[in-house]
């Protein structure tokens, strides 16, 4: 394992180099960008579920809030016309604020009860987005989102001097520029969370997750700690949502932000290893990579092999959810701690030899 210890920085270097390889394709790169965005979302959720132990099942709502904040602040339909930088900061802060406000009244709930209320919150947010036509344009979504990157920079800033490949676009929200930006932000989030884990706050979260009663006997303030976790987690989800809307140039159909997304994110972090940053990254890349990229490739390959039309049962994507389910069941049976568990969990589950009689 020791040779693999530095796989995360290595992966980041590889991904940063990807657009410079001759086999790089703009389509694939755009799919990768989406993966980076989902990774930011999952890392945010991991702060709430993994570090602090609050089973939140409505993270997609914050993702949606982030996306719609960017939509509202940038589309021609509204008078704001802000740059992406301003809109993304607003999206982060707004999602964080809504997270704190909606969680403050339910802080006393634990475990399953908290999960149910957050699930309800996710559904309410989704229906609110869908039905507030006057603001969100309902199922049409807000578009086109083509803001400039910074205040005072027009959206069609000419990046042709920085072209990696002459066939690719020169708009900043196109591959590879947004790709680099999303990758950079993901890397920064990883570093930020690493520092956070080692901070007083990070250790306090873990103590709270382990035993709330003991934690309050130690002088920790559970309410404030939980709100801090939600503020950071929801904020990261909002940031991810901002990037999502920017990369698609629309907020898309509100159904994008439904319960399924929350659930898949929970699956990603459980698959990868609850509470462990690199594990979460791996979980997202595997699960969302399979969902978004591998199924496409496999579908095309199967069609070539079979030479028949695309009936749903002839596509891997038609079996996608079943494959997810089977993988999760197998994981729970054989490796409940996830692919790359947090050191603490591993220590507890696999320290048999030193266990006292």
């Amino acid at each position: 394992m020791s040779a693999l210890r530095h796989w995360v920085p290595a992966l980041f270097v590889l991904l940063a180099a990807y657009p410079f390889f001759p086999f790089a394709e703009a389509n694939r790169g755009e799919q990768f960008t989406i993966l980076f965005i989902y990774a930011i979302l999952a890392l945010g959720l991991n702060v709430i579920i993994g570090y602090t132990g609050l089973l939140h099942l409505g993270i997609a709502a914050f993702f949606g809030l982030g996306a719609y904040t960017v939509g509202i602040l940038t589309v021609p339909f509204f008078p704001f016309q802000q740059s992406f930088l301003v809109a993304a900061i607003a999206a982060t802060l707004f999602a964080s604020f809504v997270g704190v406000v909606t969680t403050a009244p339910i802080l006393r709930l634990r475990g399953d009860y908290l999960a149910l209320v957050t699930l309800g919150f996710g559904l309410i947010a989704l229906y609110a987005i869908r039905n507030l036509d006057a603001i969100t344009e309902g199922t049409k979504g807000l578009n086109p989102i083509d803001a400039g990157p910074f205040p005072g920079v027009k959206e069609n800033v000419d990046l042709s001097d920085y072209q990696v490949n002459s066939e690719w676009g020169i708009r900043w929200y196109k591959y590879p520029y947004l790709y680099f930006l999303a990758l950079g932000v993901l890397g920064s989030v990883m570093l930020f969370l690493r520092n956070l884990e080692q901070s007083r706050l990070g250790r306090a979260w873990v103590a709270l997750r382990e035993d709330e009663l003991a934690a309050s006997c130690m002088g920790l303030n559970p309410a404030r700690l939980k709100l801090a976790a939600i503020a950071i987690g929801a904020g990261l989800a909002g940031l991810a949502g901002a990037f999502y809307a920017m990369s698609l140039r629309t907020t898309g159909n509100p159904a994008t932000y439904d319960f399924t997304l929350s659930m898949i994110m929970v699956c990603c972090i459980i698959l990868g290893g609850l509470g462990n940053r690199p594990g979460v990254l791996l979980g997202v890349f595997l699960l969302m990579g399979f969902d978004r990229i591998a199924t496409n490739i496999l579908d095309n390959w199967l069609q070539e092999q079979l030479g028949t039309g695309g009936k749903n049962y002839e596509k891997i994507s038609g079996w996608k959810l079943m494959i997810f389910g089977v993988v999760l069941i197998l994981m729970m049976r054989f490796r409940p701690e996830g692919l790359l568990p947090e050191a603490r969990v591993k220590r507890e589950l696999h320290d048999e030899e030193s266990k006292p009689a």
Binding site: A207, E210, S216, C217, R347
Partner: protein, 240 residues
């Protein structure tokens, strides 16, 4: 004689519609070990939780070192700073944190890094087994070791008053003796202790004074050796 370290007057507390503590009063002087004994459900743990602020008092006074925790509505996380630390019932070790991390969590409210380091060293001297196993998960310690860790963790806050809730719970008799030796030793070093126990005999042997709690009321209080020899206490709590 200076004012008592802890003076509780007419404390009322409970859960939902049920009042558990009825006008409970008790006192812990500086340098004392005070034992509180009583049957299941008498309200022993509720009393300690109330003192720690985890359960809110509904009435009465809790004066710690001259400060009324009830009237001033001091929240649980600030009570530790005022010098009261609890080792809760059932030990409540952070089982996935290492022994060392558990100790560090005990010092969460402190910001003097060097002092914390020195106190961890002191804990290791007092409980050598914790030094040996400092990098293991707390949950992997045996019951007795976990109890030692729980006490050491509470001490990391440098409390003036240490609350111990059932330190003998689920431990072998030999280990119980060890734990009580530690309590006596701590007391010699100047820590006042409020000890809640079902093991009345052990508790009264180490304590200076004792309280008997029955359905939320103090029914007896006296010097510990007097209680130990009181025929009613012997019949009800010492199994004679």
């Amino acid at each position: 004689m200076s004012s008592p370290l802890l003076e509780v007057t007419d404390l009322e507390a409970g859960y939902g519609p049920i009042n558990v503590l009825h006008k409970l009063s008790l006192r812990v002087d500086r340098g004392e070990i005070v034992a509180m004994i009583g049957a299941n459900g008498a309200g022993k743990t509720t009393t300690l939780m109330c003192l720690s602020g985890v359960v809110k008092a509904r009435g009465g006074k809790i004066v710690l070192d001259g400060k009324d925790l009830v009237a001033d509505r001091v929240p649980a996380h600030n009570i530790v700073k005022l010098g009261l630390a609890q080792s809760p019932e059932g030990r409540k070790i952070f089982s996935r944190l290492s022994v060392l991390e558990n100790l560090e969590m005990g010092a969460f409210t402190r910001s003097d890094k060097d002092g914390v380091k020195a106190d961890i060293e002191k804990a290791f001297v007092m409980f050598p087994i914790l030094r040996e196993r400092q990098h293991q998960a707390g949950g992997l310690l045996s019951g007795g070791q976990q109890q030692m860790l729980a006490i050491a963790r509470a001490l990391m806050a440098r409390p003036k008053l240490l609350l111990l809730d059932e330190p003998s719970l689920g431990l072998a008799p030999q280990i119980v003796v060890q734990i009580f030796d530690v309590i006596k030793e701590l007391n010699k070093q100047g820590v006042s202790v409020l000890l809640v126990e079902q093991n009345a005999r052990m508790a009264l042997k180490v304590a200076h004074r004792g309280y008997v709690l029955e359905t939320g009321r103090i029914t007896f209080t006296d010097k510990a050796d007097v209680l130990l020899n009181d025929p009613r206490i012997r019949a009800a709590y010492l199994g004679e």
